[in-house]
Amino acid sequence: MTAVSPPTQNTLEPHMTVIGYLDPGTGTLIVQAVLGGAAGVAVLVKTKGRRLFRRGDAAAEAATTDTAATAAEGDETPVATGSSD
């Protein structure tokens, strides 16, 4: 009888949001709000997901706090899509 051990969370990168046994991907989770259409945009705004639509380099962005980022120039309004495509 062969029992295969399940992977432990220790083997995963520390920055991953691990809930359940599948890594859902932080960024892709946030995208889901947009894909729900106009109703999702409100959710996106509340979760500070607006950062998704700002210009600027990702590394610099990650180093900046959300408060500072909100004050940054080049803010774009979230794209409200009527349908998911």
Partner: protein, 477 residues
């Protein structure tokens, strides 16, 4: 069909945990003899009870789109571990993987996944993952096998499997349909699928602005870059911000529209007009068909391999005399046409699989055992090897003796067509090779010498026009 048959009752036979079923600690597949069980922990058992009470589950099982599943909790105690319950699943004839499917097969599997997800959402359940490895085939009909993937949808929860759906279903399909690159080698090399960033780098600006490109490729790629370093609990944040089921349902509807509209790009196919383009194919087919029918019908065949199946003509002949037939070909385009033909026909026991016998699927994943090699998943008792041998020996430079040994090691009866060096098709293959670059023993006399060492020739006959020859072979035991 990969398991040895035995008269011993299942309960006395050794049990093995499925090497591909370890990711979900609460739901594991175990095989014992011909039986397939799924062991459930407390939480998974609750989800099962909820699932079995839904109307969509009964409906989809009856339609054959979810594998037939019955509770069999008494067996749970037979296996190591503290299991709260167990289910018994129907057996799938031959297990196959997405890197062996054609474009339309992956697309149909994606549609099945989305349809089941939509049906589950209507009854407040969700599929917690979305991998094509949860889909298998009965002939050309997809069947969802991972009953353990359904769970209750908590209020405000996101679709955790969305990224997996993108990486393992949508991106491979977009790669083939929009970029014109077959997805099979990519999925074989990276079974977790393509990342948004990888696909975006391969797409042209025009591809990105086409349907689905912005929202499901460019946006997730950007989001993954932007939120890469964060340890935020986005799931809770989204829930607090008012995320709800309707947002998932809108996303699933949109994805379905995109997937439905995707068509394969035909750039890669070379063999899709084989029967129509070559006069010899039509002229010789009648005689070959008679020979194949006679020697396929002479035995009961559980599993037939049709190597180099092309348009599936001989696979379909064999299907009348076999429980199951694998139509194998390295050309995904010609096989995709066959899949379409089979899906529309009444033939239920032919499965087309993209498989180059000179480079068959290896064992992949954790310890190379998670996804077993092709040969470990299917043991044929009859192999059709028609108009293939010259491709192996002349085009791929595999020694003739090695090809005979490979066939003999399959331990199956073989219907072999020998295509001699003076055949116009062989001359086409050798046009750009010098004589010393071709194995010198590629001739009928050498073939007979090698066959004599490993096989008994039950019957043989010439193919009309030209010097091709058919052999019905039985392994020497």
């Amino acid at each position: 069909m990969t398991d040895e048959h035995s008269d011993a009752p299942s309960s006395t036979r050794p049990a093995t945990f499925d090497p591909g079923s370890y990711r979900d600690p609460g739901s594991r597949v175990v095989r014992r003899g011909d039986d397939v069980f799924r062991l459930l922990d407390e939480r998974a058992l609750t989800d099962w009870e909820r699932l079995s009470a839904t109307s969509f589950f009964r409906r989809e099982v009856a339609a054959g789109r979810i594998a037939a599943t019955e509770p069999d909790h008494a067996v749970a105690g037979d296996f190591p571990g503290a299991w709260a319950g167990a289910l018994r699943h129907e057996r799938i004839p031959v297990v196959s993987y997405p890197y062996e499917w054609t474009f339309s097969m992956l697309r149909d599997a994606a549609l099945l996944q989305l349809d089941l997800l939509a049906a589950a959402l209507d009854e407040d359940m969700i599929l917690k993952d979305s991998t094509p490895f949860n889909v298998q085939w009965r002939g050309a009909r997809p069947v969802f096998i991972d009953v353990g993937s359904f769970e209750q949808l908590e209020k405000g929860e996101v679709w955790v499997g969305y990224r997996q759906f993108l990486q393992q279903f949508l991106y491979p399909l977009l790669l083939a349909a929009r970029v014109g690159v077959p997805f099979q080698p990519w999925l074989r090399g990276q079974p977790d699928g393509l990342t948004a960033d990888q696909l975006q780098r391969m797409m042209s600006a025009r591809d990105v602005v086409r349907k689905g490109g912005m929202l499901h490729v460019a946006l997730p790629a950007r989001a993954e870059r932007r939120y890469r370093e964060e340890g935020r609990d986005v799931r809770s944040e989204l829930k607090a911000a008012g995320f709800r089921k309707e947002l998932i349902q809108a996303n699933v509807r949109g994805l379905r529209r995109i997937v439905e509209g995707l068509n394969r790009s035909d750039a890669a196919g070379r063999w899709d007009r084989y029967a129509a383009d070559f006069a010899h194919v039509a002229a010789q087919r009648a005689a070959k068909s008679d020979f194949v029918t006679t020697h396929a019908a002479s035995h009961h065949n559980r599993l037939v391999w049709d190597v180099g199946a092309n348009d599936g003509h001989f696979s379909m002949l064999a299907a009348s005399h076999a429980e199951y037939v694998l139509a194998l070909d390295a050309d995904d385009v010609v096989l995709d046409d066959l899949y379409g033909k089979l899906a529309a026909s009444g033939v239920r026991n032919v499965l087309p699989l993209v498989q180059d016998v000179a480079n068959p699927s290896p064992g992949l994943g954790w310890r190379s055992a998670e996804r077993p090699a092709f040969a470990e998943r299917s043991a044929p008792d009859l192999v059709l090897c028609l108009a293939v041998i010259h491709h192996l020996v002349v085009a791929r430079n595999i020694p003739l003796r090695a090809v005979v040994d490979w066939l003999a090691d399959l331990d199956a009866r073989v219907i072999l067509e020998f295509v001699p060096p003076d055949d116009p098709m062989v001359r086409g293959l050798t046009a750009n090779k010098r004589p010393h670059e071709i194995h010198r023993d590629y001739d009928e006399a050498s073939l007979r010498r090698y066959l004599a060492e490993r096989f008994v020739i039950d019957a043989e006959q010439p193919v009309p026009s030209g010097n091709r020859r058919l052999f019905a072979l039985r392994p020497e035991r």
